[in-house]
């Protein structure tokens, strides 16, 4: 379609005269949903992985929430991050969203007696293998986030450490390492909750309420107003900010 549109017909102006406009469309930050969904997944999985939620089969009542909010919700945030031009968010939330969807389905299959999942404490190599690549990917997004904010790097690095220890614990069948990974996931959850909350409050109040401790000093000063959204205040949602 675009190729045809760019080829002028005989009655159309010459190609050089076609006016190309760069179209920037503001949206609400998908990182809010992404961080909330990621934090929820880390919290639920982390507490269960640490052995605090009803034993090995306690996850059978966790998986629908992991599958839908941490999975589908986070993947949606990842895909909307393309429009937000947020390469880190798109990759981080997209991959972890997919992971929680798959993890939820795995427990769904176990609950429906299609599969019989092994006891994690005795080792689960297939899931441990996937945690290797989740760790590699999360370490990579952490270094990408370092370009903007050392605090966001630290938060993602904590999640990366949790995934790294989880893969070791699952492959080796070590309950101790699994419990340690679980609590580190909980720590990552707290940090992710902070970032999601900060994105939301800073945008809603129009000033810095919670800083992300970015390299730009102006983004860390309480009460500073780094944003001035373009809007027509008495127009419809989309043209104005909010509804």
């Amino acid at each position: 379609m675009s190729a045809t549109a760019e080829q002028p017909a005989s009655s159309a102006p010459p190609r050089q005269a076609v006016r190309a406009t760069i179209f920037l469309q503001p949206i609400a930050a998908p990182a809010v949903l992404g961080y909330f969904a990621a934090a929820s997944g880390f919290l639920l999985f982390g507490v269960w992985f640490a052995g605090e939620l009803g034993g090995a089969k306690g996850a059978t009542v966790l998986f629908p929430f992991l599958l839908l909010f941490s999975g589908v919700g986070q993947l949606s945030a990842g895909l909307w991050s393309y429009r937000a031009r947020d390469a880190v968010g798109a990759s981080l939330f997209g991959v972890w969203g997919g992971f929680w969807i798959a993890y939820g389905f795995l427990w769904l299959l176990d609950t429906a007696h299609v599969l019989a999942l092994p006891l994690f404490a005795h080792g689960f190599g297939a899931l441990g293998q996937w945690f290797i690549y989740m760790a590699v990917i999360t370490w990579t997004t952490a270094f990408a986030a370092l370009g903007r904010s050392p605090f966001q790097f630290a938060s993602q690095a904590v999640a990366s450490v949790a995934a790294t220890i989880a893969c070791a614990g699952l492959i080796a069948g070590s309950a101790g390492w699994q419990h340690a990974a679980g609590w580190i996931f909980v720590a990552a959850s707290a940090l992710f909750m902070y970032h999601g909350t900060a994105y939301m409050l800073n945008a809603l109040f129009g000033q810095i309420v919670l800083p992300h401790f970015s390299w730009r000093r102006a983004e860390n000063v309480f009460g500073e107003e780094p944003l001035a959204p373009i809007q027509v205040p008495d127009a419809e949602p989309g043209v104005k900010v909010g509804q």
Partner: protein, 253 residues
């Protein structure tokens, strides 16, 4: 299309009135690079199954895929497919076609494994010839190899992308031979090609994302212009209003 060409004409309506046609315009909308998410879905799925084929972990037979197929089907399948569809907006011919193709492959493979898990079908080991599965890899190999030729384009290609597509394309054909004949030497050699391709996929995805996040080249992608391979070099200058919301400025706000 017709309406775009007749920019200077008027439109007749049923009551005889005319309304001017809107002027011809082209909207260009920047987005984050979708290729990273797609390539990382490919990376994880391909590494898990290739290392399993080579016996680096797990046990031979259908038991282990019965556990990890869901992750391959979702992260390698659905997620990679979504990134492929978004690549249409990035106007990326290679990513939109090949990420979507490999995404559908992993979903399809996941369905086969799910049928095996529910005992609707019996999945044979690689030592049993299975031409019906082997033939999948003929089009996969052909189109991936065509992508590797496209990756040599001086304007849009790069050596890292070429390495990824070339090794996966060749690996697909070798895997096809192995499955067709039941000879695991071929599937093992193919798995090595897939591992090289998967590592290249991680590298291309990572460097693309890092360049977007840091706004400069971090490590070279082997592009065919010298400037695009110099670490620290700025090669993209985003159009943005820095006080705006996501979409109007680059990155999360």
């Amino acid at each position: 299309m017709a309406s775009l060409r007749q920019t200077s004409a008027a439109t007749g309506t049923s009551d005889g009135a005319t309304t001017p046609r809107p002027p011809l315009g082209v909207f260009l909308q920047p987005i984050a690079p979708p290729v990273t998410l797609g390539l990382w879905g490919f990376f994880g799925s391909t590494m898990v199954i290739s290392t399993w084929i080579l016996g680096w972990w797990g046990a031979p037979g259908p038991k282990d895929p019965g556990y990890f197929f869901v992750f391959n089907a979702v992260i390698g399948g659905v997620v990679q497919f979504a990134a492929g569809i978004w690549s249409f907006r990035a106007r990326d011919y290679v990513a939109s076609s090949l990420l979507t193709m490999w995404g559908t492959f992993w979903v399809g493979w996941g369905i086969v494994q799910a049928l095996g898990a529910t005992h609707a079908i019996t999945i044979p080991p690689f030592t049993t010839p299975q031409p019906a599965f082997a033939i999948w890899f003929i089009p996969l190999g052909i189109f991936t190899f065509v992508g590797s030729i496209a990756a040599l384009s001086p304007r849009h290609g790069g050596l890292a992308l070429w390495l990824l597509l070339f090794t996966v394309g060749i690996g697909s054909w070798l895997f096809c031979i192995g499955l067709w004949t039941g000879n695991t030497t071929w599937t093992d050699v193919a798995a090595w090609f897939f591992i090289v391709g998967a590592c290249a996929a991680w590298y291309v995805g990572a460097m693309t994302m890092l360049a977007s996040a840091w706004r400069r080249v971090i490590l070279p992608l082997g592009k065919f212009t010298r400037r695009a391979n110099i670490p620290g070099q700025r090669i993209e200058f985003p159009t943005e209003y820095t006080g705006g919301q996501p979409g109007v400025r680059q990155g999360a706000v």
